[in-house]
């Protein structure tokens, strides 16, 4: 028995391939959009994972340090370190700002970490080249997404740093690449103003008669010095001993230290539920619409393709082809088109996803779901078309 579907495809291979390509690109776009959505959520999750922390200690009544700004004294870590259940603590600062290299600048989240041993909370967990920060000033580790390379001189606020290491997937919840610099430099960057402001402030202080008393030499200098000290950090990250209940330790710190403490779960809620909620809903809605539209277009294409064969279907019916055979021919073509389209779509999505500015997460299970959806759409659409085709009176083939 001749494979009618096969012969038809062979005869019209150009149209078939082009249709498959069109379908494929549409599917690829839909898969990519799904990946964009997942990437957004993953950015938020990865931020929490990479911090290596079990608890986040921040300013009271804030949702910090990511969703809201938080300032706590930089000696807070000492008291937190003494709390029961705490294995290691690190002070950190987070500042989203433009980082300049030469004439271009990049939006990055500048993270201030203590350049002690790698493995402290807040430090990048793994590198893709270079080394960790070893000097206490003017070195930086940047994420690959920033475009910086080893040896680059980058400027953050007032100072210049040399990039000594590169990381991957160290991004803020908004997808901005992270740049790690020593904590003291980061404190200065965040809490110390630029040169012009500092000069103005000095002038203002000097013109304040209660601060600039002639009878008290040295008073003005002391006041100005105190204004330029950086006493704050944004958060203290806490790693707990194995087996310790995070909520218990968190409650302890909250009660005795008058600070807010968030566990990993609570941070997840804050990030997903508050910080990226609107953006992810935005993308989510668009994704739903895209899926519906793509499904409709797939259905439309298959339907139209089938209807174009009405005459052949009528003749086949007339010369005695079983309905089953005709249905099988159409279905084979539709499913074949679906499979072809899906393969093209998945391949395209995989190849162009890395070029997106933010992370696109294409998961295997999304591919499987997508594949099932495509096949279902093809089958449904072709069945609708077949019904139309089979209703055709073979007598049509015989002239009016």
């Amino acid at each position: 028995m001749i494979s009618l579907a096969g012969r038809d495809i062979l005869h019209g291979w150009g149209k078939f391939t082009l249709t498959g390509l069109g379908l494929g690109l549409l599917i690829g776009v839909t898969l990519t959009m799904g990946g964009v959505y997942r990437g957004m959520v993953d950015d938020a999750m990865v931020l929490l994972d990479n911090s290596g922390a079990d608890l986040w200690v921040v300013q009271q009544e804030t949702l910090g340090p990511y969703a809201e700004s938080s300032s706590i004294y930089d000696d807070t870590w000492r008291s937190v370190a003494g709390m029961p259940g705490v294995e290691a603590v690190s002070s950190v600062t987070y500042l989203t700002t433009q980082v300049r290299r030469g004439t271009e600048d990049v939006r990055a989240m500048v993270v201030g970490v203590d350049p002690g041993m790698p493995g402290a909370p807040g430090q990048p967990g793994y590198l893709s080249s270079g080394r960790h920060i070893t000097r206490s000033h003017y070195e930086a580790v940047a994420d690959a997404a920033s475009g910086f390379r080893l040896g680059d001189e980058i400027r953050v606020r007032r100072n210049t740093y040399t990039v000594v290491g590169i990381t991957r997937r160290m991004v803020s919840s908004g997808g901005d690449p992270m740049v790690f610099i020593p904590l003291k430099d980061a404190q200065e960057a965040q809490f110390l103003k630029d040169n012009d402001s500092i000069l103005q402030q000095r002038h203002r202080t000097a013109s304040n008669p209660s601060l600039n008393r002639p009878g008290v030499p040295g008073l003005l200098e002391s006041v100005i010095a105190s204004q330029s000290s950086n006493l704050f950090v944004n958060a203290v990250l806490v790693r707990l001993l194995p087996g310790v209940d995070p909520e218990e330790t968190a409650e302890h710190i909250r009660r005795w230290m008058r600070l807010e403490v968030y566990t990993r779960e609570q941070m997840e809620d804050i990030l997903l539920g508050k910080l990226i909620a609107t953006s992810s809903r935005q993308i989510g809605m668009f994704l739903v619409i895209l899926i519906i539209v793509s499904a409709a277009i797939v259905a439309f294409i298959i339907y139209t393709l089938t209807l174009g064969k009405i005459r052949e279907i009528a003749v086949l019916k007339l010369i005695g082809t079983k309905n089953r055979t005709i249905v099988s021919m159409i279905l084979q073509q539709a499913v074949g088109l679906g499979i072809l389209g899906f393969m093209i779509g998945k391949i395209s999505a995989t190849f162009w996803a890395p070029f997106f500015p933010k992370f696109v997460l294409l998961q295997a299970r999304d591919a499987v779901t997508g594949f099932a959806a495509v096949i279902v759409m093809c089958v449904l659409a072709s069945i609708l078309a077949i019904r139309a085709a089979l209703k055709v009176d073979p007598a049509e083939a015989i002239g009016g």
Partner: protein, 251 residues
Amino acid sequence: MADQQKPGITIEGLRKRYGSGETAVDALKGVDMAVSPGEVVGLIGPSGSGKSTLLKCLGAVIEPTSGRMTLGDEAIYDGKWKIKDLRALRRDRIGFIFQAPYLIPFLDVTDNVALIPMLAGSSDGDSRKRAMELLKALDVAHRASAMPSQLSGGEQQRVAIARALANRPPVILADEPTAPLDSERALSVITILNAMAKQYETAIIVVTHDEKIIPTFRRIYHIRDGRTEETAGEGRAVDKKQNIQQEEETA
């Protein structure tokens, strides 16, 4: 009047009513027809006369309202269909030739013809062998592996004829088979039909109003207003040069 040694196809009192009540239309009002195996008869009538309807009934494509249809020895309709599988009936026992060849565009010439026996269950090899025989007989075997779009109109029509004959059906219904053809081709088709009818003992009914071929029929059914009338045709033979010879009947 007609040779009726073995009835090929017979129709008695066939009626077909479309619609019901006030708006009913009687397309066929009692048609009688009989064609013997090996015979080629013409069916002539103006449009609206019901000839399409008659053809559709003969082809078991639509169901008549009343009457009797017999194919060979078997009654296939007498008030209702007596055959369950009409599709099989069409496939195995009725051949169709249309105004246009209606070849399957994505099958080559051989497979267009071989498809019919394949659908009936023959093996691929046997089907293709039979197809080649028919194509040879119709003098179009040199195009056996071409695609329909590469053939001329006449060649396509001959392939269509081969297809109609593929399952050796006892009846062939031809609907204006020569309409798009010039006189030489038209006569050639009629010649072939006659030859095939004799060779395979097929009864062939040709619906036509083509003046060029009407003289070749020995018997003609005229249909008007849903009724048929049998007349004698001129029965002229066609010579080698595809010209109609003078009738050789004795006066």
